[in-house]
């Protein structure tokens, strides 16, 4: 589904990603962990097409198509979704209207007509229940006045509604209390399927107690320096990132 080869990117001329390689197949969940400043969020933003980040080298292929050549809205319509670490507020735009518009765009890209009002509401109701989203929030303005946890859960609702092939969760666990964390994780677990994939970016291991990843990668200084299975996450939690740094230094010396 996604092949990343030697991906390099910089912000304001400063290199952040220094050659990332990653392959994600349908049905897989990959966790990307790493200390602050290692480039985790940059990787998510680059994949989503944020123009603040300049790609300086490497490739990224999504379902056989050159991801880096697509503007962000085409990436979205092709089935790439990013749950934002800091979802923005858009006053006056109702959550429902926004979802309807986004869904219509994505469906149109796939040659499908927009859902009828009835079909749409039905789907919204189902997905709302699936991710335990407070019904009163969908009628409010997009994220306006939402708590941090509500915003994150709204991201998961959008994920459920838009049914992307690949979802990138950028530190979705940050700022969540334990209940919200469980709800978000349950949502993701219910949404995972044979034909979709997830990249979960997180600083902590605790989200991975609820969402069991197939692979865990450690990003450090703009490179993936270690990959493994879920045990790697436990090891990291136990020993801390210094352990990785030390072992890295040891391997260089």
């Amino acid at each position: 589904m996604l092949q990343i080869k030697n991906l390099q990117a910089s912000v304001n001329g400063e290199p952040i990603l220094k050659g990332v390689d990653l392959e994600v197949k349908a049905g897989e969940i990959h966790a990307i962990m790493g200390p602050n400043g290692s480039g985790k969020s940059t990787l998510a933003s680059v994949l989503a097409g944020n123009e603040l980040y300049e790609v300086t080298g490497g490739e990224a292929w999504f379902e056989g198509k050159n991801l880096l050549e697509m503007p962000p809205e085409i990436r979205a319509r092709e089935g790439l979704f990013m749950a934002f670490q800091y979802p923005v507020e858009i006053p006056g735009v109702s959550n429902i209207n926004f979802l309807k518009t986004a869904l219509a765009e994505i469906r149109a890209h796939r040659g499908l007509p927009p859902l009828s009002a009835k079909e749409f509401m039905q789907r919204l109701k189902e997905k709302q229940e699936l991710v335990e989203f407070n019904a009163s929030l969908v009628n409010r303005s997009l994220n306006e006045g939402f708590s941090g946890g509500e915003k994150k859960r709204n991201e998961i609702l959008q994920l459920a509604m838009l049914e992307p092939k690949l979802a990138i969760l950028d530190e979705t666990d940050s700022g969540l209390d334990i209940d919200a964390l469980r709800i978000v994780a349950n949502g993701v677990n219910k949404l995972r399927a044979k034909d979709n994939a997830f990249i979960i970016i997180t600083h902590y291991q605790r989200l991975l107690q609820y969402i069991i990843p197939d692979y865990v990668h450690v990003l450090y200084d703009g490179r993936i320096i270690k990959s493994g299975t879920k045990e790697l996450a436990y090891e990291l939690e136990e020993k801390g990132y210094d352990w990785i740094k030390e072992s890295l230094q040891a391997s260089f010396s």
Binding site: G49, A76, V88, I90, G92, V93, F98
Partner: protein, 483 residues
């Protein structure tokens, strides 16, 4: 990498004016010039009574005095207007129509292009259209249904003929001919317009709507609208505007007077989309309008809602005089300017009665090199105990070459009054656009959605069919899924 702001700027400045076409209808045009003879010609042509001729002549007198010193307080330089170079009367030659079949097919085609086919409107029902092409009404629908309720809705010309007493009683009582230079000009030369009277206790059974359209080259339009809601009556009136493309500036100096008696309510909505001029600010309509309403009796209510996207210069302040105790005035406005457009608009709320309340919500959107000003006055007279006003003026800037200005005036002569004023200025953030991009919306749609959201509070006050048109005018296409 182009910045988002520049993209937006480009988008808006590249947009062609959609309704830039011209209808070819035989016109009867008065040669340019303004003098007593002009007034007499217009009045005679319209077969007006002597009192109205005299009233017009007084208007001319005041215009001559007031035009000696043109206003200078506004936040733009008033272009020189050669009033003698304007033709003050233009009417389609064919007249006295009994049915739609007699309407010039070209005029009907024009309305089709504007998306207001009268035939369809009839079928769709709910909206009576008094279509004004230049100076003369060419078609009126739903008269029968209104007649049943005793609602009078006709052109000003017809009203003068058939209901002279009502016209005489109210004409000029809210906007007198001495009010300002453009109101004086209008009084002198007003061509036609709409007249509406809703009798006591009647709730007008449909939204009333008039489409004004400037059409003849070099003829200013001088509509005069008079709406009276008698005790306990209710009426909602919609005014929509669009004009064909022109190279020369066109002056539009309309006057609207609203009169709400005891417990009456008038809701007046406008969508204005006149030709704004080209990218460099050439051409375009000067929209210098005087709109004012009076809540004459207790518990009366007047509500102005406007969406202003057109005209080279928009200069107007729909106002409410709150004379009756407990009366309510409202003003909801979205003014969008781009390229070299200028908007200097706002409202006046004049509190005279006790417990009077007013609410002002103004949303300015500026793009390109445009200048967008909110100018408002809240006045509380000494007798207006416990008057209450809330004002909110928001400005949204697209790009960094445009200007947003706020000129709130407050004049309070009563210590029991409570006045509130809130103002914000904001820009569309790049992260908002990226967020929407990431959900599959291209940047144009993203901006449209954000702008739509920003203006929501005002758009919500428009009648449904108008809200849809207004959203289109704000460059919004939401695939028909208006929420």
């Amino acid at each position: 990498m182009p910045t988002t702001d520049q993209d937006i700027l480009q988008k808006y400045s590249d947009q062609e004016y959609e309704f830039g076409f011209e209808t070819r209808v035989e016109m009867e045009i008065l040669p340019p010039g303004l003098n007593e003879e002009t007034i007499r010609f217009i009045s005679a042509k319209k077969e007006e009574p002597e009192w109205l001729l005299q009233w017009r002549l007084k208007g001319l007198e005041h215009f001559r005095r007031l035009s000696q010193e043109m206003p200078e307080w506004q936040n733009f330089k008033l272009p020189y207007i050669d009033f003698q170079a304007i033709s003050y009367y233009a009417a389609p030659k064919k007249r006295k129509l009994n049915s739609l079949d007699e309407v010039d097919p070209e005029i009907l085609a024009t309305f089709e292009k504007l998306g207001i086919p009268l035939e369809e409107q009839k079928v769709l029902a709910g909206v009576a259209v008094d279509a004004v092409m230049d100076s003369v009404s060419v078609a009126t629908t739903f008269q029968e249904k209104l007649k049943e309720k005793g609602v009078i809705f006709c052109s000003m010309g017809e009203a003068v003929k058939h209901y002279p007493d009502l016209v005489k009683k109210y004409l000029g009582t809210v906007v007198p001919y001495s009010d300002n230079v453009f109101a004086a000009l209008n009084a002198a030369v007003f061509s036609d317009g709409s007249f509406c009277y809703v009798p006591k206790g009647v709730r007008c059974p449909m939204e009333l709507s008039t489409y004004f359209r400037i059409n003849a080259a070099n003829t200013g339009q001088f509509e005069r609208t008079l709406i009276i809601a008698d005790e306990g009556a209710y009426v909602s009136y919609l005014e929509g505007c669009t004009a064909p493309k022109r190279d020369e500036n066109q002056l539009h100096a309309a006057v609207v007077e609203l009169i709400a008696l005891d417990h009456a309510e008038i809701k007046y909505s406008t969508v204005q989309n006149w030709f704004p001029g080209d990218k460099n600010g050439n051409g375009g309509v000067f929209n210098f309008v005087t709109k004012r309403g009076i809540c004459k009796g207790p518990y009366a209510k007047i509500s102005w809602t406007q969406v202003e996207t057109g005209s080279a210069i928009t200069w107007k302040y729909p106002s409410v005089i709150l004379q009756g105790d407990h009366s309510v005035g409202e003003f909801y406005s979205v003014a969008m300017t781009r390229n070299r457009q200028i908007a200097d608009t706002g409202t006046k709320m004049i509190h005279l009665g006790k417990h009077t309340r007013s609410r002002i919500i103004s949303k300015g959107i500026s793009a390109g090199y445009s200048q967008n000003s909110y100018r408002g006055q809240v006045r509380v007279g000494p007798r207006a105990d416990f008057a209450r006003n809330f004002t909110q003026c928001d400005s949204l800037l697209l790009g960094d070459k445009c200007g947003a200005h706020t000129f709130p005036y407050i004049d309070c002569q009563n210590p029991t009054a409570i006045l509130e004023h809130e103002a914000t200025t904001s820009k569309i953030a790049e992260d908002q656009i990226f967020y929407l991009n990431q959900r599959g919306l291209d940047t144009e749609k993203a901006v449209a959605l954000i702008v739509n959201g920003y203006a929501r509070e005002v758009l919500n006050n428009l009648p449904m069919e108008f809200a849809v048109e207004a959203q289109k005018l704000l460059a919004i296409s939401l695939d028909g899924s208006v929420g």
